[in-house]
Symmetry: C2
Subunit: 249 residues, 2 copies
DNA sequence: GCCTATCTATCGAACGCTCGTTAGATTTTT
DNA sequence: AAAAATCTAACGAGCGTTCGATAGATAGGC
């Protein structure tokens, strides 16, 4: 425990998705909630908070946040039920700590592409898909929590999750729009396409167990999504399917 | 009340996705759980069960199944808390009633394509996409419940949801495989493609509020998904994106 | 036609238990 | 010894579920 607590910086300011760790997020959370966490010594607070949050994510992701009791969390984190309240002032605050941190790191990473890809829409789109997948893989329990639980959050917290999702969608939309402008994407690309990319990216962590069972690597998944998206952006008029086709009902 | 209760048939045996109603599902549920529902008169039981289930879906879909108390359900359905137990013997049974019925109707509809589409893989694929979207649109709260809540279900019930999903994926896989055999789909179509169709279809009901707000019709959404999927199945070698592309981290 | 016995469907109070949260005592660190 | 961090014990509220009571319909005997 001897290490002095210098570099208490915002954590992971760079766009390097794969480098963001749980510890980074915990330090950032502590800085953000300095007033609700009553433990003043960061040498104590950071590792304790990390144990609490890791246990909270683990319990929430199997059974739901509602179903996780603070007694469960106490047992899993090693602190007493009362002791937990030194790190958050209500169960909802605990939820918000995680949620805000996740949405924030998505924005930080995706808004900061390396200069090498910004000139080419195809490379930029590939990078965004890969960066998103890398980030979610790295912080899997955080994303599972933030976006699978969101539906059951109180209205204010649900708003945060929805806004984050729309920001991501907008970032994809902007890249595609630039590709259309510069002529490398077809002009009549569906305006729905940015919305459809999101579920493809989410499936990687939502159905993570399935893909692990099938030995699908992130590289394979990423390449496949890139292909599907680019096929929809690049395809020539001539070979597009004709007409709306068969309907049910 | 005066109507005699004839046609108590399995309900919606045909593959006509758009014609399946909540009432159909309730009659089917009653037939399936004849031993756990203690109310013997169907003239009473069907409408009561429908009120109970509609209220249960409504409450569960805003706040989660766990968070819905039977006192909430009692208030919303008009029966007393004790009275509810004439229609199910535990809260988990109530969950199972809905879940099994949803997974069953998906299988019934998607496994029964009209003869007009079975000969042409492109038409078949279009039909499956459209039929799935039509079905989920029609029974929106049922699907929201079955597949958004599934993560927090007890193991046995979660298994049901996962199996249903894999069945759907397999049905898509078979159509694509037939298309490859007959030569109208490219031979090197990604084996991941069937898995990626599912999240595209799910987004239609998971993010339903978003698409409604943007005035996206089912026809538009369906056509877009069909285009994206077929672009990935049909695209020629020549214009496929080259190599795995940029990586993050 | 009426009284009685039986059955069906529903009610609402009560049970044992767990929940999130708090306050005061206790331990650990400085 | 003072301060910081944590623990223990308790509170009221709410949970899923049970169960005896009951209103209304139904059927049979006279």
């Amino acid at each position: 425990m001897g290490r002095p607590s210098v570099e208490q910086q915002p954590a992971a300011g760079a766009g390097d998705a794969a480098s963001v760790t749980t510890g980074d997020l915990c330090r950032s959370i502590l800085a953000r909630h300095r007033d609700t966490v009553s433990v003043r010594n960061p040498e104590l607070a950071v590792p304790r908070l990390q144990r609490i949050l890791e246990a909270a994510l683990d319990l929430s992701n199997s059974g739901g946040f509602q179903a996780m009791s603070l007694r469960d969390l106490s047992r899993a984190s090693g602190l007493s039920t009362g002791g937990l309240y030194a790190y958050f002032d209500s169960k909802t605050t605990l939820l918000k700590m995680i949620l805000v941190e996740v949405t924030d790191v998505v924005e930080r990473v995706l808004s900061d592409p390396p200069e090498t890809v910004t000139t080419d829409p195809v490379a930029h789109l590939r990078w965004m898909i890969d960066a998103h997948l890398a980030l979610t893989e790295n912080l899997l329990p955080w994303f599972t929590f933030a976006f699978m639980e969101a539906k059951n959050f109180p209205p204010a917290e649900r708003r945060i999750a929805i806004d984050s999702e729309e920001l991501t969608e907008r970032l994809f939309g902007e890249v595609i729009a630039r590709g259309v402008e510069t002529g490398c994407f077809r002009a009549d690309a569906s305006p729905l396409l940015p919305a459809l990319i999101k579920p493809l990216l989410q499936d990687w962590y939502v159905k993570r167990a399935k893909y692990r069972r099938r030995n699908v690597t992130r590289e394979t998944y990423s390449a496949t999504v890139q292909e599907v998206v680019l096929a929809a952006c690049l395809a020539e008029e001539g070979e597009r399917p004709t007409g709306p086709g068969a309907r049910a009902g």
